[in-house]
């Protein structure tokens, strides 16, 4: 008797739990699904009451988006994210490794200095950036924004990757040094392969930051160099908000983030918790 009771209990608990998860998922996913509907919904029935669930899909929103050269902004966002992240990886990986491995005078102060750029609210940083960029003619240039994102992401990247580096046993490197390998060889042939997961997870986070970023893109760019987050508000026009187009562009902006999180969630959580616990 006792056993059947517990089995039923467990079944109930599981059912309840599943129902809760489904409800939570529906709550979170509904706006996304609604947005997908808006992408192909004719403008005249966009906000019809009661809601029209059945309609002939239209491509009018897609056409407008292309007419407005949104694919250029998309390309700008992609290139900006990729190139700035690539630079972060190239500069940040050896830096994180050095912070984790080598002793030097004032290392902790330097590390805190690196981190400090991340602690200030971005609004505080954007003004000096604007003044500096204005002086050296980097305003509204691709290079300027790339450099800004790179600097901003570098501290985060070094911070997280340092704890990945600390997790690598120093004995591995000692073993290779006994075989006569130089520091550089060890870094390339042993440290890098072992850091691969950490590098991928952390750089995805950097890419997503650059992808989502609005303030810097708006202040330092905005005309010649326009990213998706900056371009989206232009759909709020004097003739009204173009909801269908907004759904199309919003979906495109959301896609890389969703894909990245879906495939890399385990790595990302590990990367974040490692940084949090051991940083």
């Amino acid at each position: 008797m006792q056993r059947t009771l517990t089995a039923r209990d467990a079944f109930r608990r599981k059912t309840l739990w599943t129902a809760l998860v489904v409800a939570a998922a529906a709550f979170i996913l509904f706006p996304v699904i609604w947005m997908i509907g808006m992408m192909v919904k004719p403008t005249d029935i966009m906000f019809a009451r009661p809601t029209e669930w059945l309609f002939v899909p239209t491509l009018e929103h897609f056409n407008y988006v292309f007419e407005q050269k949104f694919h250029h902004y998309l390309l700008t966002s992609v290139l900006l994210g990729l190139i700035s992240t690539l630079l972060v990886v190239i500069i940040g990986t050896p830096a994180a490794y050095s912070f984790a491995r080598f002793e030097m005078r004032g290392k902790d102060d330097l590390f805190l200095f690196v981190l400090a750029s991340r602690m200030a609210p971005p609004v505080c940083l954007v003004i000096p950036y604007y003044l500096i960029f204005a002086r050296i003619d980097l305003l509204d240039t691709f290079i300027g924004l790339t450099l800004a994102y790179m600097t901003f992401n570098l501290s985060f990247y070094i911070w997280v990757l340092r704890s990945f580096c600390r997790d690598l046993p120093a004995e591995l490197e000692d073993a290779a040094r006994l075989e006569g390998w130089s520091r550089v060889q060890i870094f390339r042939r042993i440290v890098l392969p072992l850091l691969r997961n950490g590098i991928v997870a952390t750089s995805v986070l950097c890419f997503i930051f650059a992808w989502n970023e609005f303030l810097f893109a708006f202040m330092l760019g905005g005309k010649a160099v326009k990213t998706l987050p900056v371009a989206i508000p232009t759909l709020i026009t004097t003739q009204g908000v173009r909801w269908g187009e907004m759904a199309v562009v919003g979906m495109v902006a959301l896609a890389p983030v969703l894909i990245a999180v879906f495939f890399l969630q385990r790595h990302i959580v590990r990367g974040l918790t490692m940084g949090a616990v051991k940083g």
């Binding site: 004995e171 000692d174 073993a175 040094r177 006994l178 075989e179």
Partner: protein, 379 residues
């Protein structure tokens, strides 16, 4: 294979002195163990030999050639690590092959040597597996294979067995010893486990707080410990140590401890007592040198060599199969640990009589901790 000499080595980390003025010698073909509690400086010495840490002061020579200016790779040293330090992104065979690959040894010759080692270390089953999933014992055998694949001048073992389970530990211990002897390897073993050091090493160097305490064969350390630290550290269960006051009257010498008095003829103890600066001394008795007999003897008697008989009761028994370790309490409250053949008849509360042959008693200066010698040894 080389002879390794340490000439007055110091290691400082900032203000911390990890190794203080250590001189040691490891002749060709010998296994020397560095033994001590954690933080005693033994690992620092190993890292300085390997070259992964710099020597603060002093010189290390291989066959009388100084090596401290050489980078690790130029010293031709192999090392077996506590955590195995295998490259997790390579297979077992690739790990063993690594030192040869780095040196550009021709493929055919390399393959021959790798096959030989895999065979010798019975690693056939795991040859092409990634190392991360393998058992500790297998990983450590791979690590040994990697160390031996290229005829090093010196092999360093850094706590090689401490992460292994009991039976793997004993098995690998004898395997390492066999390899070391057949290949006549000069090797240095760092360990905190005295049974490991005693079982594997030809000579053992005991360290504490960065200072070398004593170097000698396991037998020497056990029979004639140089000071209280070594006396207490070597031997399991550890030596019984008692602080005594020495009274000399005429031709008798009386040692007093906690209401106990043991009376000796002066000619038996005279030369130890003469080495004392004060009337305080420490005596040490190994648990297996305590003679225990059942009984209810009243008081002690002394005559020349056969020492006192003291009544005591069994307070605690730790059976170890072939022996029993008894914790005995005398009437005056002194604790004596004795190891007797097991299984014994004693139970908790059994009345016993204990005695020690004077020849088995170790004498130390309480002040300096240094040994004054042992009556039975050659002091």
């Amino acid at each position: 294979m080389a002879t390794v000499d340490f000439n007055r080595i110091w290691k400082r980390y900032g203000d911390v002195e990890a190794v203080k003025d250590v001189s040691l010698n490891c002749p060709q073909g010998e296994m020397l163990a560095l033994l001590g509690p954690s933080g005693c400086g033994k690992s620092s010495i190993l890292k300085m030999v390997a070259g992964v840490e710099e020597i603060s002061e002093g010189e290390i020579t291989f066959d009388a050639k100084p090596v401290s200016h050489l980078p690790p790779g130029a010293r031709n040293i192999a090392m077996v690590f506590e955590d195995y330090a295998l490259y997790p992104h390579m297979t077992a065979a690739e790990n063993i092959a690594f030192p040869l690959k780095v040196r550009g040894v021709p493929r055919r010759e390399a393959a021959k040597r790798i096959d030989g080692l895999i065979d010798m270390l019975s690693l056939d089953d795991v040859r092409d597996q990634r190392v991360s999933g393998l058992s500790g014992g297998a990983q450590q055998r791979i690590s040994i294979g990697r160390a031996l694949v290229r005829d090093p001048e010196l092999v360093l073992f850094d706590e090689p067995l401490s992460h292994l389970d009991g039976d793997q530990k004993v098995q690998l211990r004898s395997e390492i010893k066999r390899l070391q002897q057949t290949a006549n390897l000069t090797s240095i073993l760092v360990t905190h486990d005295q049974s490991e050091a005693i079982a594997m090493a030809d000579r053992v160097a005991v360290m504490n707080n960065g200072v070398l305490q004593q170097v000698g064969s396991p037998h020497d350390l056990y029979e004639t410990p140089a000071n209280l630290f070594v006396a207490n550290f070597i031997g399991e269960p550890p030596m019984n140590l008692y602080e005594v006051t020495v009274h000399q009257t005429g031709n008798r010498i009386i040692l007093r401890h906690d209401g106990l008095a043991i009376d000796f003829a002066a000619d038996v103890l005279g030369r130890f007592v003469s080495g004392l600066g004060s009337d305080a001394a420490t005596i040490g008795i190994r648990p297996e040198d305590v003679r225990v007999s059942a009984g209810h003897g009243q008081t002690y008697a002394t005559d020349g060599d056969a020492a006192a008989t003291i009544p005591a009761r069994v307070d605690y028994i730790e059976p170890r199969g072939d022996s029993d370790v008894l914790t005995l309490k005398t009437d005056s409250g002194a604790i004596v640990v004795a190891e007797v053949d097991g299984p014994s008849e004693y139970v908790i509360g059994s009345p016993t009589e204990i005695s020690v042959s004077v020849g088995k008693v170790h004498f130390f200066s309480t002040e300096t901790g240094n040994a004054l010698g042992r009556r039975g040894g050659d002091a």
